[in-house]
Every structure is written in structure tokens, then in C-alpha cells.
């Protein structure tokens, strides 16, 4: 089906999110809590757009609004800009050290904050991606705690989690680099828990925690494998295999 974005027509699949269609066509919509791996969060509300559906106007979060009909979308109206600007201002007052937000601040031409108490010295904007990632992995070691203005992300009772496998997916997906991961001498510390790291049997680099290794083996039923390869070596291995296959299929001519 066709949708109209800022006056131009684009193709869209039924059920596709507005943001996906826009990004595919290089229409810029800002978003903080969006990850292509974990779409449809809808927490940060930066990606709001105006839509006209059967004559009805409304403001929706483009990252989670599924296209089910031929709608008209406006991504950059004055109103939308104003609301986004307020969101950035609100965020930067609470997460002043967040570089990403500071960049946005400049982009939206927001002067230094003089009205609000700039109170939180952290970087977290509570986008929720880390919690979602942990859930999707199937571990659910972290969650949001408390409500409203006191909300934050943590492990149960702030204790080192009993189920955390130290995979670091939460830190990897965090858009603002808030989650700390410290690694040295075969150990990784994350969420107050220390993990033993295992070495790649090929290149000898530390790359995975023992818990994560066990978890993967169990989850994908790989009890018999003892293969312990890091991403690089795994890729290299596949590449080598592929080269062999190709060599056999297409004999190298001398």
C-alpha cells in the first residue's frame, strides 16, 4: 500500500511501523529508545509524528504505529518540532551528562537550563532498551524499579543478580553508555557481579563469561559441542570453509 510522508508517496507493507518506512526512504525521524533489533518500544516519544487517518488527525509514536491503511504522515510540523524540543529540554535537565542528549540540545537550539534544578547526574534516560534486551535473551536479570520520578533500572534489591549471565547485551544496546562494564585479567564486572571469562580456543582472547557459554549451550541444545570460538574466529572459520567449498566447486585454474 501507499503512504504519504511529508507530501511524498512511499510503499509500505501492511503492519509495518511508520518509522521503518521513513528510515528506509531516508526520511529522518529522531528516536532515542529505538533499536532495529528491538523495535516498538515507544517510550521516548521523540519519534512522534502527526497522522491523518480517514480524516482524523492524531499524534502517534512512529516507532510503534503499524500502518494498516493509506494514511498521511507529517514528520516535521511546527507542533511536532515544538514537542520534541520540550522533550529534549526535559531530558537534558535530568540527564545533563548525556552526550547524546547534549548533541540533540544543540540541534534543537536549546539554551543552557536556568529554570529547572538540574538534579540527576547520571546518563540514563530510562529508555528501557536494556531491560527489553535482557528479557528477549530470556534472562530477565534487570528490571525497572519504583515508579514515576524515582524510577530506575536495577537488579532485584540491587543485589548481584543470581540469574545474570554477564553477557553485556544491556550495555551493548544502551544508547547513552550508562551501563558500566569493566573487564580485566579474565574477569568481567557488570551489575555488581563478577564473572569469569573464557578464552577463545583459536585466538586465545577472552570473550565470553562461563555463565553465558553454559546458557547458550543449554538454550540451543549444544550439549555435545565443546567449541569455544569468539566471533572473529567463528567468522574466519566459516570463511575458510566457504573458500574450501568454492575451491572444490570451481577448481582453481593454474
Amino acid at each position: 500500500m501507499k503512504v504519504m510522508i511529508d507530501g511524498k508517496k512511499y510503499d509500505a507493507e501492511y503492519g509495518e511501523y511508520i518509522l521503518n518506512v521513513a528510515r528506509r526512504n531516508a526520511v529522518n525521524i529522531p528516536a532515542l529508545c529505538h533499536s532495529d533489533a528491538l523495535p516498538g518500544q515507544g517510550n521516548c516519544r521523540m519519534c512522534i509524528v502527526e497522522i491523518v487517518d480517514k480524516g482524523r488527525k492524531s499524534i502517534v509514536a512512529s516507532c510503534a504505529y503499524p500502518i494498516t491503511g493509506e494514511i498521511e504522515i507529517v514528520t516535521n510540523s511546527e507542533r511536532i518540532y515544538r514537542i520534541r524540543k520540550t522533550i529534549v529540554r526535559l531530558l537534558s535537565a535530568s540527564a545533563p551528562d548525556n552526550e547524546y542528549i547534549n548533541r540533540l540540545r544543540k540541534e534543537y537550539d536549546i539554551p543552557p537550563e536556568t529554570r529547572f534544578k538540574v538534579d540527576r547526574d547520571g546518563k540514563c534516560i530510562l529508555c528501557g532498551l536494556c531491560v527489553r534486551a535482557c528479557d528477549e535473551i530470556g534472562v530477565s536479570a534487570i528490571s525497572t524499579v519504583n515508579r514515576g520520578t524515582t524510577k530506575r533500572v536495577s537488579t532485584p534489591f540491587d543485589e548481584p543478580s543470581t540469574v545474570c549471565i554477564g553477557c553485556g547485551a544491556c550495555a551493548y544496546i544502551c544508547p547513552t553508555g550508562t551501563i558500566e562494564v569493566n573487564e580485566d585479567e579474565g574477569r568481567r564486572v557488570i551489575w555488581n557481579k563478577t564473572f569469569e571469562l573464557l578464552k577463545c580456543s583459536e585466538c586465545g582472547e577472552y570473550f565470553i563469561t562461563r555463565e553465558q557459554y553454559e546458557y547458550i549451550k543449554k538454550r540451543y541444545d549444544l550439549a555435545d559441542t565443546n567449541e569455544l570460538l569468539c566471533d572473529k574466529c567463528k567468522k574466519k572459520g566459516i570463511g575458510d570453509k566457504l573458500t574450501n567449498v568454492l575451491h572444490n566447486v570451481i577448481p582453481v585454474q593454474k
Binding site: 515507544g42 521516548c44 522533550i87 530510562l126 514515576g148
Partner: protein, 608 residues
């Protein structure tokens, strides 16, 4: 009428709702029962759970009604038991002392139904409350209970039920006012099983007790409504989500489910018609946001009570991703009546876009506080002045706040407004679940906005940024204003943040949270300006912006105020005039309370 016959029918109803129970009504019930049993006369004594203040008389409880004469006693004490039995029950003599004083008429009335408070009401959802014992299923059946279920199962198709509800024009009573019939149709059309029906009993608005009273006082009507809904959409499993603080509601609901199952209204093959249904009670953990439908479903599933994006309706993907119909307690309680009396009957009540009645909990500075049920379209003036009996004390009406913490404040100029879903939205307020708080002139509107924003900042789930951060900053500004630190540009800033929170928030809580701020600015901007520019609070509420003084013309120098002052800020000789040292005064108000001559005044302006 035959005297013997009347004696046989005589029934004594003792209110055992939360409010009356707290005032010892159970002892009264036991006393009456024992006395009558001892006398061995043919009179039934039944405890009746009438929820707190459902007739506006919780403050006057415990309440005893004697049928069939409908003699209505309030403020009954255990020591009155003998007199009631001997005079009224046995000899039909009315005890003048215990009758209800109707302030509108200025006299005592024999039956509550004669009072102005009662006359303007129309009870549909509250039809049985105070009339039946909620623990006794036969009481409910006697008043036509479960006949709607029978009608539906024997005579109507699921489609027929849905179109009946659609034609009735019933809109959800939980807040958003979504047409109930349409919701059911959407769910019924889904070819995806199992389907669920949910009853939202997580009433969290401060000062609201509509759903509570129905759950406590007439649980079977809710069950019957849910059963009819389940039959219509093809569901076999339901949940009732009740906030845990409502212990009596949970108790009565649990008992009702047991009794209904015993009689075959719940379980397998109900009434032999091949329809099976089971229901479970889920106790809410106390988060306000869990009254939001998707957060409530998350909570039932055992996840964090956060709302999700609703671009896909719950009727398509709700509880555990299955088609779900969720309605609130009051909506369900309306269903059996609609089925029995017909959509035509129901749709003739109320206003054009809002059919039927609405239950409100009328509280604040009105004479008759309590639960009322009125046809929609009735004006605010009728509710507050005719039913509510006007403003308590000598104060003047200032505003009425409708729709719970995120509703709006409506000023005097709009008292002629007919109350329904759309009209309230138009003036910036909302129906919400039916809270109605009346304020008099001793209310500071800036402080009111601050109070609600404080509540919402604690109850926002914190998931989306506009709601979490926006409410926090609006509260910050309002707190500054109330303490004399407001800035000139603050009003515009408040409106700017309000727009963002209203338009960009994820769920209904955030989308409505700025209402108290927007409406108070719209209708009471002067007060904001007084706080900001003049650094004074016209209503004399915000401590930092007021000053206490003693009116020299009124003071006779009794010295009581000096005794009451905790900071020794008051000085003067007995017999002469007393004065307050403003530098020592902490504005606690003790002197004002103590003074018999009303000589202590509060000036809505800081000392020069």
C-alpha cells in the same frame, strides 16, 4: 392493607458498609437480631451492606431502614436498639430523634426517599445497593437477579446481545467512555481463542468510591454483567482486578463467586445451555496506573504494571496476547438492566452522546457528601446545589473538580453545564470514573494544581519521558509558585510542558495529567498572577504567601490566641488588643481556630 400481612413483610435493614461498620453497625445488627428473636415476632433482620455514603449519609451512619414503611434512621447507636424494636418495629411509631434532616427542605423527613437528595437521582448501577444483603444470593435473585442471564442464554444469540448493548449507547464508565457495544463487537469478531473478559475494580482516584460500593453492596450484578459479556464475545475465562485496599469488596466478591458457582451460574454448561465460564479475582498491588487497562493486564500477567502502546486494541491483543474485553465495575453492573429493560429504555435516559446514568462520588465542601447516581446531562448546579445541598458552612462556591486527579477544575460560570462525557471534555475536564470534588473560596487553585501534580508524579509509572519528566518539572514550577518563587514566564512554560505531556505521553494517565494545570490557568489565571507578581495567595492557603493578623476592631483581648500560639508570636495585655509578630509566626492557624470572635484574619499577601 391487612395489618397482619404488613407485619410479616417487615424487614429491618442495617447498613454494614465500611463507613457504618466503623461506627459499630454490626453490633447494632446483632442487637436488633437478638432482640427480635427473643421477642419471637415474625420480623426478619437482615444485615445490608450499603457502601460508604452511598446515600450521602455515611457521615450520618450507622443507618437502619425499616421496610415496608421505609422509615429511615441515621446516626443510630447500640443503645437505640430496644427503642427501635419496641416503637417502630412493633408499634409503627416513628422515633423523631433518629430521622434524617433534609437541609434542602429544612425539616426532618420520615423516609430518605422524600429528601431532595434522593429525588433527583436515578439508580441503575446502584439499584440494589442498600436494599439487599450482598452475602445472600437469594436477595439478588428476588430482585430479578440472573434473569438477564437466563434471557440471554435462552432467547438471545451472542450477536443479538452485542447489538442490544450497542443500541443502548452504553459507554464505558471507567474514564475514556469508549462505546461498550463496539468493544464487544471488535472482540467477538476475532477468530482467536481463548478470549478473556476483565472487570476493572482498581479504583484509585482519591476520594472516589463508586466501584467499591458496587462491589461491596451488589457483587452479583457485576458477575451477571460479566457473564453476559462473556457469552456475547465467546469467552470462557474472566478476571476481576480489585485493589487490595478494598478488603470488604474482595470478601464480598469472593463470596458472590462461590455462591454463584453453587447455583450453577458459573462453571461448566451454565443452565444447561452449553456455555461455560469461570472467573478469578486478582488483587492489585496499589499502583494507580494499574487502573489503566493495559497496565492492569500486565499486572494480571504478573509483569510490571506499565501500560503498553494501544495502537492494537486489547480486543485484538489483550491479556496474554489474546482478544480481551475490559470494562469497569459500573459498566458491567449496567448490563443486566439493559438486557432486562431493553436498549430502547436505556437509551432514552441521559444526553445525546452519553446514554444512561453515571455514578459520582460527590465530596468536598458540599453539605451532602456521598455517592449519587444521576441521569447524564444533569447540570453541575443541580448536582451540587440540589442534590449536594450547596456549600457547607458560610463559604461561596469556587470550583468543582471532576474526573479524578487528572480531571479539570470547572468554575462557577460553567455550572449550567450538562454533565456528560463530551461536555466535560470540551471544558477541559473529564468524566473519569466519576470523582467530583467541590471547592469553596478558601481553596487556592494553584495549590490544587500542585496537589494533583504531586499525586501524579508519584503515581506515573515513569515509562515514557513526557509523563515522567514533564510532570516532575511542572510540579517543580508549581511548588515554586506556592512558595513565592514563581517567575513571570512560568505560566507559559507550564502550558508548553502541558502540551508535550498531553500530546506525546503513552497512556491515558499522562495524556490527562496536565488537565488540572491547564484548566486552573484557563479559569483562574488571576490567582497564578497574584502568586507570581504580587507574591500573595488570594485564598490565604499558601503559607509563604500569607500573613496572619488580629483585627483590632474585633479583638477584645481575651488572650486565648496567645495561649494557643506555639511560637510565642502573639503579645498583648488581657483586656487590650493583641498583636502577632509576623517574624515569629509560623502560620499554623492555631490562633485562628481558637479565637471565638473570628478576630484572627489571614491576609492573602506577604508583609510589606
Amino acid at each position: 392493607m391487612n395489618i397482619f400481612k404488613r407485619k410479616v413483610k417487615k424487614t429491618v435493614l442495617v447498613c454494614c458498609g465500611t463507613g457504618c461498620l466503623a461506627n459499630n453497625s454490626f453490633e447494632i445488627y446483632k442487637g436488633l437480631k437478638k432482640k427480635i428473636e427473643d421477642l419471637a415476632v415474625n420480623v426478619k433482620v437482615r444485615p445490608v451492606v450499603k457502601a460508604t455514603g452511598c446515600n450521602g449519609l455515611c457521615e450520618k451512619g450507622p443507618i437502619v431502614t425499616i421496610l415496608p414503611d421505609d422509615v429511615f434512621y441515621c446516626g443510630v447507636k447500640v443503645t437505640d436498639v430496644d427503642e427501635i424494636v419496641e416503637n417502630t418495629v412493633l408499634n409503627n411509631k416513628v422515633i423523631e430523634r433518629l430521622l434524617y434532616f433534609d437541609s434542602a427542605k429544612g425539616k426532618k423527613v420520615r423516609s430518605h426517599k422524600q429528601s431532595e437528595f434522593y429525588r433527583k437521582q436515578l439508580k441503575i448501577a446502584l439499584r440494589n445497593i442498600g436494599q439487599i444483603d450482598p452475602g445472600n444470593i437469594d436477595d439478588y435473585i428476588e430482585r430479578g437477579g440472573y434473569s438477564a442471564l437466563r434471557k440471554v442464554l435462552f432467547k438471545m444469540s451472542p450477536k443479538g446481545v452485542i447489538s442490544e448493548v450497542e443500541r443502548s449507547g452504553l459507554r464505558g464508565r471507567g474514564g475514556a467512555g469508549f462505546p461498550a457495544g463496539l468493544k464487544w463487537r471488535q472482540c467477538a469478531e476475532m477468530d482467536n481463542f481463548p478470549k478473556y473478559v476483565v472487570c476493572n475494580g482498581d479504583e484509585g482516584d482519591p476520594g472516589a468510591f463508586m466501584d467499591r460500593s458496587i462491589m461491596e453492596g451488589d457483587p452479583h450484578s457485576i458477575l451477571e454483567g460479566i457473564l453476559i459479556g462473556a457469552y456475547a464475545v465467546g469467552s470462557e475465562k474472566g478476571f476481576i482486578y480489585i485493589r487490595d485496599e478494598y478488603s470488604l469488596a474482595i470478601k464480598n466478591m469472593t463470596k458472590a463467586i462461590e455462591k454463584a458457582a453453587e447455583r450453577g451460574f458459573l462453571g461448566q454448561n451454565i443452565m444447561g445451555k452449553g456455555f461455560s465460564f469461570d472467573i478469578e479475582i486478582v488483587r492489585g498491588g496499589g499502583a494507580f496506573v494499574c487502573g489503566e487497562s493495559t497496565a492492569l493486564m500486565a499486572s494480571i500477567e504478573g509483569r510490571v504494571g506499565e501500560p503498553r502502546i494501544k495502537y492494537i486494541h486489547s480486543t485484538e491483543k489483550g491479556l496474554w496476547g489474546q482478544p480481551t474485553v475490559l470494562n469497569n465495575v459500573e459498566t458491567w453492573a449496567n448490563i443486566p438492566v439493559i438486557i432486562n429493560k431493553g436498549a430502547g429504555w436505556f437509551s432514552r435516559i441521559g444526553s445525546k452522546g452519553s446514554r444512561g446514568t453515571k455514578v459520582f462520588s460527590l465530596v468536598g465542601k458540599v453539605r451532602n457528601t456521598g455517592l449519587i447516581e444521576v441521569p447524564m446531562g444533569i447540570t453541575l448546579r443541580e448536582i451540587i446545589f440540589d442534590i449536594g445541598g450547596g456549600i457547607i458552612g458560610s463559604g461561596k462556591f469556587k470550583a468543582v473538580q471532576t474526573g479524578g486527579p487528572s480531571g479539570g477544575c470547572i468554575p462557577e460560570s460553567l455550572l449550567g453545564l450538562g454533565v456528560d462525557f463530551d461536555s466535560l471534555n470540551e471544558v477541559g475536564a473529564m468524566m473519569g470514573s466519576g470523582g467530583m470534588i467541590v471547592m469553596d473560596e478558601n481553596t487556592c487553585m494553584v495549590e490544587v494544581a500542585r496537589y494533583y501534580l504531586k499525586f501524579l508524579s508519584e503515581e506515573s509509572c515513569g515509562k515514557c519521558i513526557p509523563c515522567r519528566e514533564g510532570i516532575k518539572r511542572m510540579l517543580e514550577i508549581l511548588e515554586d509558585m506556592c512558595t513565592g518563587k514563581g517567575r513571570e514566564e512560568d505560566i507559559e512554560l507550564l502550558l508548553e510542558i502541558s502540551e508535550t505531556v498531553k500530546e506525546a505521553s503513552l497512556c491515558g494517565l499522562g495524556k490527562t495529567a496536565p488537565n488540572p494545570v491547564i484548566t486552573t490557568i484557563k479559569y483562574f489565571r488571576d490567582e497564578y498572577l497574584a502568586h507570581i507578581k504580587d507574591r500573595r495567595c488570594p485564598a490565604g492557603i499558601c503559607r509563604e504567601l500569607t500573613v496572619y493578623y488580629i483585627d483590632r476592631d474585633v479583638c477584645r483581648g481575651c488572650g486565648l490566641c496567645r495561649k494557643g500560639c506555639p511560637t510565642e508570636a502573639i503579645s498583648g495585655e488581657i483586656g487590650s488588643r493583641f498583636t502577632i509578630d509576623t517574624s515569629k509566626c509560623i502560620k499554623c492557624g492555631s490562633c485562628k481556630e481558637i479565637c471565638r470572635l473570628n478576630a484572627v484574619k489571614v491576609l492573602g499577601g506577604a508583609a510589606e
